[in-house]
Amino acid sequence: MHEFSVMSDVMEALKEESLKHSFKGVKEVVLEVGVLTFLAHEQLRFSYKVLSEGTVFDGSELSIEDRPAMIRCESCGYEGEGGFRDEPGFHRVMPTFSCPKCDEPTSVVSGNECIIRRIVADVEE
């Protein structure tokens, strides 16, 4: 729902990078989007296409990679990926944050980011 406003912030940051490095053309932008965010990839792509028009990013490829949900268990010290469970009663694969080792409740450490990971661009030699 807020993909357009988030992508507007992404574009601002991309334009800053472009100014910093004097991009002559951009081939690819790689975004890492946490699986716990509410950012739909298709809408991010659409927003990118619209917002990059007329800029040096126009026509470049937007690649979106998932960032996993990481959890920490204070009971046994486990730190790693949270689980997803395909429960028959649930409408979709749902996240489950119980510790895979000791089954105690855990804290979410990450998985809620939207990171500009890489830009592949042409610059003056």
Partner: protein, 216 residues
């Protein structure tokens, strides 16, 4: 001549909101104010729950303030004002959630010196607020039985990211043919530390229990 470069940027766009949220949190902690973000569907009973808590806090000699978030209108703002507490109305216009930046501005507008507790009522929405922590001590998500027994199944992430899950309007459970236990079990199935409380805000039931969970 041009050459192709591959630049590692590593900038988290949602991180800016989280930084502001941390700033809000530090500010509120320094002021000695306990703070709560109430999220939930439109009509889940967030406003009435906060109103109920405000009145019970008065009996304890504690003073609350409210940041009332809505897309438009002053309805909730006017209701909170009736309780004689400081209120800032935040209309997002188009956005589907409050963010830490809007809360920071609202805090600027509020006289916080006499406050013990701050409530932030988020825009009614079970999706977008999930990406925007505000910097409160606790996020409570409210779900009412009138929404059906499958809201946690439909929106698992926002429930998983909340500290407290309030199942409201349990007085209507029978009429709605909804078993609150289904919601209760779904909440536990998420495997987080969230505490689940059942309330009937209309008749003031479960509010004291909720306040115990919120530690106020």
């Amino acid at each position: 001549m041009h050459k192709t470069v591959d630049i590692d940027v590593g900038k988290d766009i949602l991180g800016r909101n989280r930084e502001l949220a941390r700033k809000n949190h530090t500010f509120l902690v320094e002021k000695g104010i306990r703070s709560f973000d109430f999220v939930g569907s439109i009509g889940s009973g967030k406003t009435l729950l906060i109103e109920g808590i405000i009145e019970l806090l008065k009996e304890k000699g504690l003073r609350a303030g409210v940041i009332a978030g809505d897309v438009a209108g002053e309805e909730d703002y006017m209701r909170f004002r009736e309780h004689g507490v400081p209120v800032v109305n935040v209309n997002t216009g188009k956005e589907c959630h409050l963010d830490a930046h809007l809360v920071e501005h609202a805090l600027d507008e509020m006289n916080l010196d006499d406050l013990d507790v701050l409530f932030v009522e988020n825009v009614g929405n079970l999706v977008c607020p999930g990406d925007f922590p505000l910097g409160t001590d606790v996020r409570a998500v409210v779900v009412s039985v009138t929404e059906g027994d499958d809201m946690i199944k439909k929106h698992p992430v926002i429930f998983a990211l909340s500290d407290v899950i309030v199942i409201n309007k349990i007085d209507l459970a029978e009429a709605m043919e909804v078993d609150p236990k289904v919601l209760q079990n779904d909440a536990h199935a998420l495997g987080t530390k969230a505490v689940v409380v059942q309330t009937d805000a209309k008749h003031g039931k479960g509010i004291t229990e909720l306040m115990d969970v919120l530690q106020i």
